[in-house]
């Protein structure tokens, strides 16, 4: 490419470089600042009495013995807090027909899931709070629970919210073309399957945690919060505790994993804030692991009946499915629990040029913990259904699974276009990523190797997925539905007197490296070294207003705001420099902390310039009023989302005697637009793949029929550990999004969204010669043996 140098290939650009993360130094010295590390003067601790049953009427609560425990400071029931907390309802106005009942931080009258907080004990230590909580007696009259999501809609099922008449929270159908006619054609092969996806949860290593302090002298509430969306929480605390919004400050320093778990409104956290306000002293609540399993939002839990019709040439003639999902007894506030089903309607089959499509989703209430957004919302289901059906169809018509993709994937030069599901797509590269994947994994060699091994009784399988990922959401996601969730973000950059710059941004850091990439962008665009950039995120009092980090939006939205702010600051600085140096600003540049001529000759240091402006303003013309600080905000316009795409493949070996599967290899080729820091992006993708492997093989929240959570410990709920995990090969295709100058899309969820589909396809590839198939995740050894008919 010819033409002038862009900011991306100028010598001082750091964009695209694998620079180290400055934050890691602190974390490796044990100097992280997590919420539980905070001890404030007069701080007290909250513990909770939780419902032991899935559904019941609270008859009475006896607090006498608990109150007598030395060290107990206060005990609150649901009724006690009802006067102090405005109830919340998790619906969005643009999701027509979605309904949910008002929720309170502590159950009032009725409990609706095992683990629902009922009574809060505040005491001098967490241990004392737990001692006292064990002495609270809650008399609960059992009500019949509706736990099975498929049966929850039957006419005789117990109704969880009697006013609603039944347990249907929301239903939506998407239809394009004429799927019925396409399925009826006599030149198509139809494949029909039922897929089941278990419930799983985030298991952030740091559990949910908050320390809330209230200062009555100024009516201010400060919450140290392990979360992803501080400004959203500022609104929620203010609204539901009756405080002016500007009097609430939410601070999120180091956050020990989040993955979407920490963007929701949890009763125990609201109760903790209410207690801090009532007691006028700091209250700490840190969920223990059992509380996390019982109450952190769960995800997935879908049953999908899907059908695909393909022609002899391998062209997809139609795709249709019905999805049913259980969301627990309420739609989670404020993001709503219907989003996952909605994503599945929107995303299934979206990589493919499809004309005939029908999808129906039913979202039902049930007496289990709430379900809501967790990493790669809806994606694993959408991808597993579409690519599972597609690979099966390929085998039915005797076509290679790569070939059938090549025939159906939207062409790389066909953008912008709209998918059958109504999604506006642009700047995607399905064919390029698939080609790169095939080359990286040496597909043909693997296939022949597997065939040879099969003859020796070794059962290996390959499975692929072509996927899209929702990133960089615009206001069309939550804002239009009335949720207090910003889709725009801001960055403020100021020149310090010492010649460094300070970036303050509303996107947040949870370990993915936000602070680092913002520093890279600012340093390169403005013209200082990385170590002269300081970054502040995660504090509603000191950062611009914005949405925080979720839906892979930090780089794409926060990064673009930072790029724009760095440009703006640079212009200001060059204006001042032009006056001081008697030069045209266009003839100057900033490189390595110095004002230079365009040819690189240093003229003055940034600190000289800053000190002149800050200390010796008398040396400037009086009509010049430089600020040396610039703020820019950015939001995605014209598109509801900026999609990324990826092609991934898994290679597994199956032991048909034990049902055990060993993952031998995993390859991911991701197009997340401009890669800002490959070192960070690669391990993001790997971490995502590992969570996808968790969903595919290990993780499941197992409930009994009557709604007891049966594996709520880390020993019983399996997560991927180092030994079972493969090395993962990553490659990139870079198609920058045209929606921004930076061109960055998100990269945080692709692995979690795509890996389960590739893995299920790989297992089925190994099972097929044995006459078996599996369509249920997690694919446990027992389920594989069931599929094989051996148990």
């Amino acid at each position: 490419m010819s033409g002038p140098l862009t900011i991306f290939d100028k010598p001082n650009s750091l964009i695209g470089k694998p620079v180290d993360r400055p934050d890691t130094k602190r974390l490796l010295q044990g100097r992280g600042k997590f919420v539980d590390d905070i001890q404030l003067p007069r701080m007290v601790h909250a513990g909770f009495v939780r419902s032991p049953v899935a559904h019941g009427r609270i008859v009475s609560i006896d607090l006498d013995e608990a109150r007598a425990v030395p060290g107990v400071i206060a005990i609150y029931t649901g009724a006690d807090l009802a006067d102090h907390v405005e109830p919340y309802v998790g619906v969005l106005s643009h999701m027509a027909g979605l309904r949910s009942a008002p929720q309170m931080p502590l159950a009032v009258d009725t409990v609706r899931w095992t683990g629902e907080p009922v009574v809060m004990v505040v005491a001098s230590s967490r241990a004392v709070a737990e001692d006292a909580a064990a002495l609270v007696f809650v008399d609960i009259e059992d009500l019949p629970p509706a736990t099975d999501m498929e049966r929850a809609l039957e006419p005789d099922a117990p109704v969880i919210h009697p006013d609603f008449g039944n347990n249907l929270a929301w239903e939506r159908t998407v239809e394009a073309g004429d799927p019925d006619a396409a399925f009826a054609r006599d030149d198509v092969t139809v494949v029909e399957r039922t897929f089941r996806f278990g419930r799983h949860t985030g298991v952030t290593l740091e559990t949910r945690a908050s320390v809330v302090d209230y200062d009555p002298s100024e009516d201010t509430l400060t919450c140290h919060y392990s979360g992803q969306a501080p400004h959203m929480m500022q609104f929620i605390f203010a609204k539901h505790l009756g405080l002016p919004e500007e009097n609430v400050r939410v601070i999120s320093n180091d956050v020990g994993g989040s993955f979407g778990i920490k963007i929701h409104t949890y009763g125990d956290e609201i109760a903790t804030a209410a207690a801090a306000k009532l007691l006028q002293r700091p209250v700490k609540f840190v969920a223990d692991r059992l509380e996390s399993f019982l109450t952190d939002i769960h995800a997935r839990d879908h049953v999908v009946h899907g059908r695909i019709a393909v022609t002899r040439e391998g062209e997809i003639a139609a795709l249709a499915f019905d999805d049913i999902t259980g969301i627990g007894p309420y739609s989670m506030y404020p993001r709503t629990s219907a989003i996952e089903a909605n994503q599945i309607l929107n995303l299934t089959g979206a990589p493919y040029a499809l004309e005939n499509y029908r999808a129906n989703a039913k979202v039902v209430f049930q007496n289990k913990n709430l379900m809501c957004q967790y990493r790669a919302v809806g994606h694993p289901i959408a991808m597993a259904v579409a690519d599972g059906l597609l690979e099966e169809a390929a085998h039915k018509i005797g076509m290679d699974v790569v070939e059938i993709r090549r025939r159906n994937l939207v062409k790389d030069d066909a953008y912008p276009c709209t998918s059958a599901t109504g999604m506006k797509l642009d700047d995607l590269s399905h064919h390029k990523t698939l080609d790169k994947l095939i080359e990286t994994m040496d597909y043909d060699a693997k296939r022949s190797e597997h065939a040879a091994l099969r003859a020796q009784g070794i059962h290996r399988g390959l499975g692929l997925v072509s996927m899209i990922e929702v990133t960089n959401p615009s206001p069309m996601f939550y804002g239009i539905g009335g949720a207090p969730i910003a889709s725009q973000d801001g960055s403020t950059i100021r020149l310090e007197a010492g010649g460094a710059i300070h970036v303050s941004s509303s996107v947040t850091e949870q370990g993915q490296g936000t602070n680092t990439i913002l520093a890279q962008i600012a340093a390169g665009v403005f013209g200082v070294a990385m170590d002269r950039v300081k970054v502040t995120t995660g504090d509603t009092k000191t950062t611009p207003y914005g949405g925080g980090t979720w839906a892979s939006r930090g780089a794409g939205i926060g990064g673009e705001a930072t790029l724009q702010a760095a440009h703006a600051l640079k212009e200001q600085v060059l204006d001042v420099a032009g006056v001081i140096l008697q030069a045209k600003p266009e003839a100057l540049d900033i490189v390595d902390g110095h004002i230079t001529d365009k040819d690189g000759t240093q003229r003055m240091s940034l600190s000289d310039l800053a000190r002149t402006v800050y200390y010796r303003g008398n040396e400037l013309p009086s009509d010049m009023t430089p600020e040396l600080v610039a703020t820019r905000h950015y939001r995605v316009t014209d598109f509801p989302f900026v999609f990324t795409n990826a092609a991934m493949a898994a290679e597994i070996e199956l032991d048909p005697d034990t049902g055990f599967v060993k993952i031998l290899n995993f390859w991911a080729v991701e197009d997340c637009g401009r890669v800002i820091n490959p070192k960070l992006v690669d391990e993001q993708i790997r971490g995502g793949v590992i969570q996808g492997i968790g969903g595919a093989f290990y993780e499941e929240c197992i409930y009994s029929e009557d709604g007891q959570f049966e594996n709520a410990t880390m020993a019983d709920y399996l997560v991927p550990m180092a030994f079972e995990m493969p090395d993962i090969t990553i490659a990139h295709v870079e198609t920058p999004t045209k929606t921004s100058v930076l061109g960055a899309k998100g990269a945080g969820e692709a692995g979690t969204g795509g890996a389960p589909a590739a893995l299920m396809n790989a297992v089925n590839d190994a099972l097929r010669p044995l006459g078996a198939q599996i369509h249920q995740m997690p694919m446990t050894p027992e389920r594989i043996l069931e599929a094989l008919g051996t148990v």
Binding site: R21, G32, L205, T207, G256, G513, E683, T713, M714, A722
Partner: protein, 156 residues
């Protein structure tokens, strides 16, 4: 239950005496009483490895040991590894072998145990050694890379 007992422990080179509740575990004592918040708690039931730290030369789970059991012991936490861990720290930074950093104190302890124990740059063996330490953010690969780098760096 409020029974307490006075213990004396040497932590990161400094000796501390304190009256501790007999039911308190070591990691809570270190974090809450001594303010050494580097060691983390992920499960308090011995599974996740976040609380791994060194007691009398052995890496232990700080959540499975009572503070009273550490009476008279020498304890080293992430704040106290000093130069012993500097090669690993550098490799962890270079490989981006941590994201949120919550598992990191325990992960570093287990990695240190492996390296000091003379473990080889064998990826499967490293993975096996680290498989009592849960990391939810990374793909583990970068951690294995970092451990290999240190071993290979020392060997050459």
């Amino acid at each position: 239950m409020t029974d307490t007992q006075t213990i004396s422990v040497t932590v990161n080179g400094e000796t501390a005496s304190a009256a501790v509740p007999v039911r308190q575990n070591l990691v809570d004592f270190l974090r809450n009483t001594l303010g050494l918040t580097g060691s983390h708690v992920g499960c308090e039931h011995g599974v996740c490895g976040a609380c791994t730290l060194e007691v009398d030369g052995a890496m232990v789970r700080g959540c499975l040991m009572l503070a009273v059991q550490a009476d008279g012991a020498t304890v080293t936490t992430i704040e106290g590894y000093g130069d012993r861990a500097s090669a690993l720290r550098a490799a962890f930074i270079d490989r981006n072998a941590l994201q949120c950093g919550y598992c990191t104190p325990g992960m570093l302890a287990s990695a240190l145990e492996y390296v000091e124990g003379g473990g080889g740059a064998d990826r499967a063996a490293i993975r096996e050694h680290l498989s009592g330490n849960y990391c939810r953010c990374t793909g583990y690969q970068s951690i294995v890379d970092a451990v290999c780098d240190v071993i290979e760096g020392e060997g050459s």
